[in-house]
């Protein structure tokens, strides 16, 4: 058993990180906030880099890698707060023409009725007839709700486990970013004549940020290896917690600055909130795990 990243996996993660640092840095993130809309050129570049075709077999024109590699790529996307229906397009690769190449933007209607990037998408999976737009809490994720959407998934309709896991990977990346930003600020910001990171109260907030990230990371990576629905549900719950609580604690560490539009912290929190409501988070994952727990206990 060697449950750690291989050299190839480290190289892949670094490659995605470099691409996003070049094409979607902080200036690009803030520009996207001011001018909403999907960057089609960037979408095609992701396609050319194999982001959407990562798990497609080489014979079908894909990269031929597995779920662990996809998770690493999505973690980087979450870390950079990259906007767009990434998971839906990735899942459509090989099925919807142009999705693998990043030429076609694919979005999907969630079991609960929410759909993101509806107006910008070329292809919509699921029935979005009569969907009305919401004033989305996240400036980087336009949202619609379908007419029949109740906000709760129908009992017989559960999200695709791969979509659940890729969303968890994005949450993990966002949680990592929250931890990095909090620590960076705690080192630089001085109050009472010393960096605020020297104060135990701040130190302990940062420590808990990292603990949640590392626990979620172990769960997300393991779920990527086993692809077991229970492992995926567990990973999702911990990644949701790491992202949402991480962003809140990061905001707290930033103090008054964290409450401003100019600081990036709110973008982390709002994206994390949106993701918790999508693709099999929350009660859907809890109920799945509850069923597994009882079945395993009965054996």
């Amino acid at each position: 058993m060697r449950f750690r990243l291989t050299d190839d996996q480290r190289a892949l993660r670094q490659g995605v990180r470099d691409l996003l640092a070049r094409r979607f840095d902080r200036d690009a993130l803030r520009a996207a906030v001011e001018r909403p809309g999907l960057d089609r050129a960037l979408w095609r570049e992701l396609g050319a880099a194999g982001f959407f075709a990562l798990r497609l077999p080489e014979a079908a024109g894909g990269v031929g890698l597995g779920l662990p590699e996809a998770v690493l790529a999505f973690e980087e996307a979450g870390r950079a707060l990259l906007p767009g229906p990434l998971a839906a397009t990735h899942l459509a690769a090989g099925r919807v023409p142009g999705a693998a190449e990043g030429e076609t933007v694919v979005t999907a209607v969630d079991p609960g009725g929410l759909v993101e990037w509806l107006a910008e998408a070329d292809v919509v999976e699921g029935d979005a007839t009569g969907a009305v737009s919401l004033r989305s809490v996240d400036p980087l994720t336009p949202l619609h709700r379908t007419a029949g959407g109740s906000g709760q998934p129908a009992a017989d309709h559960v999200a695709d486990p791969v979509a659940v896991l890729l969303t968890a990977a994005e949450q993990l990346g966002t949680a990592t970013r929250a931890c990095e930003l909090a620590v960076q600020h705690a080192r630089a910001r001085e109050q009472f004549g010393q960096p605020i990171g020297a104060f135990q109260a701040v130190k302990h907030l940062c420590a808990e940020l990292l603990v949640r990230v590392e626990v979620a990371r172990a769960a997300v990576y393991a779920a990527a290896v086993t692809a077991d629905p229970g492992d995926i549900a567990a990973a999702r719950l911990l990644a949701d917690e790491a992202a949402v609580r991480g962003a809140r604690d990061c905001l707290q560490v930033h103090g008054g600055m964290g409450f401003t539009w100019e600081a990036d912290v709110h973008l982390l929190l709002k994206r994390a909130w949106v993701r918790t409501r999508r693709a099999g988070g929350g009660t859907e994952s809890e109920e799945l795990l509850a069923r597994e727990l009882l079945t395993a206990a009965g054996r």
């Binding site: 058993m1 135990q200 130190k203 509850a290 597994e292």
Partner: protein, 376 residues
């Protein structure tokens, strides 16, 4: 990333399972928790069985993955945990193996493995718990001996121990981390008084140990004089690294029992309780994965990684949450000391304090891993 085991590892698992299946029914009944001599004999008997079967070494020289399998399988089979052998096998033994002389290794290691000698830990003091380096028990040189005076607290198994891994201050003028020495003290030496300490769980799990001019041969010093802090850190990284592996497996079993109990009496239909159990299931699955991650990192690097403090922090709180949830499943029965899980709930209260409080662990994570500045 690979979570599969090699054929050799699977073979080890199969042989161990087979042996456990035969060995466990042969165990005598477990003595009562207050019967210390009985517990000592029982724990040593189990250690002897492991020794005869060739498993005694597993904590010391097996590959980390093999050790993980050992802890997983023994716990799943309901085998005894290390018990009275805890300090010898997991603390003093590894420390002597790493830092002792050939003569010291020859004297102390084999009796620990064979289940002949029990060790206890003389680290904590009434005025030096979390601030371990503030310890004040004094030792001064007199001929071939050190003479030791002071007191220790929270010393598990002190009543039945043969040896104590003892931290003493040998240079009161040095900076507090510098003047400490690690000694192996025989527990039958004149001048030692052991007073059992009753915990909130009602039993005497620990003791206070009073030392009045106890003579310890200088040949029993492990490492150099005044270098005991470094020697101790070797031990503590070990404790935080993998000491809780078996317990995670046990917690997952308890969680399954709770689910079954809740289902049997209808409480399972309460979505609040059901989802709380599901969240704990997520938690312990993740802690098991974190264990596998840390073990893999240790295999690669040779030492337990920094993951130990992260694991310990999260695990100690999850364990308390588990038994609080057990109380919700039990309802009024949670007030009955004779019911299962009730004593475990009381014991779990020590987890955020022992082996470094959660507050100390957070400071370690913030300063040593995140690189935040030292301060108040």
């Amino acid at each position: 990333m690979d979570l599969s085991y090699s054929p050799e590892e699977e073979d080890f698992r199969a042989r161990l399972r087979d042996w456990l299946g035969k060995a466990l029914p042969a165990l005598p009944p477990k003595p009562s928790p207050d019967d210390w001599p009985g517990r000592r004999a029982w724990d040593l008997g189990w250690q002897r069985m492991l020794y005869d079967a060739g498993y005694a070494h597993v904590h010391w020289d097996a590959e980390p993955t093999t050790r993980l399998i050992f802890l997983e399988e023994t716990e799943k089979a309901g085998a005894p945990y290390v018990g009275a052998n805890f300090v010898g096998l997991l603390h003093a033994g590894p420390t002597i193996a790493a830092e002792g002389t050939d003569a010291q290794r020859a004297r102390w290691l084999e009796p620990i493995l064979r289940g002949e000698e029990v060790w206890c830990q003389g680290f904590s003091e009434p005025d030096a718990g979390s601030d371990l380096a503030a310890l004040r028990t004094r030792a001064w040189r007199d001929g071939d001996d050190y003479v030791v005076s002071g007191s220790k607290i929270w010393t598990s198994h002190a009543e039945v121990a043969d040896w104590c891994e003892l931290l003493v201050r040998t240079d009161p003028t040095a900076a507090k981390h510098r003047g400490i020495t690690w000694l192996a003290m025989p527990m039958d030496a004149p001048g030692i008084t052991v007073r059992p300490l009753r915990t909130l769980a009602g039993s005497a799990e620990f003791a206070e140990v009073f030392l009045d001019e106890v003579r310890v041969p200088a040949a029993h010093r492990v490492g150099e004089e005044n270098d005991g802090w470094r020697v101790t850190m070797v031990t503590l990284s070990f404790e935080r690294g993998t000491a809780f592996v078996g317990e995670v497996v046990a917690c997952r079993r308890v969680l399954g029992e709770l689910a079954r109990a809740a289902h049997a009496d209808g409480r399972w239909d309460d979505p609040v309780l059901r989802r709380r159990l599901a969240l704990l299931e997520a938690e312990f699955r993740a802690l098991w994965r974190l264990t596998q991650w840390n073990v893999s990192e240790a295999s690669a690097g040779g030492v337990p990684g920094v993951g130990g403090s992260i694991f310990k922090l999260r695990y100690s709180h999850a364990r308390q949450e588990l038994y609080d949830t057990a109380a919700d499943v039990l309802g009024d029965a949670a007030l009955d000391l004779d019911r299962p899980w009730v004593l475990d709930r009381l014991s779990s209260l020590s987890y955020t304090i022992a082996a470094g409080t959660s507050q100390i662990q957070r400071t370690i994570v913030a300063e040593r891993i995140l690189g935040l500045p030292k301060g108040r």
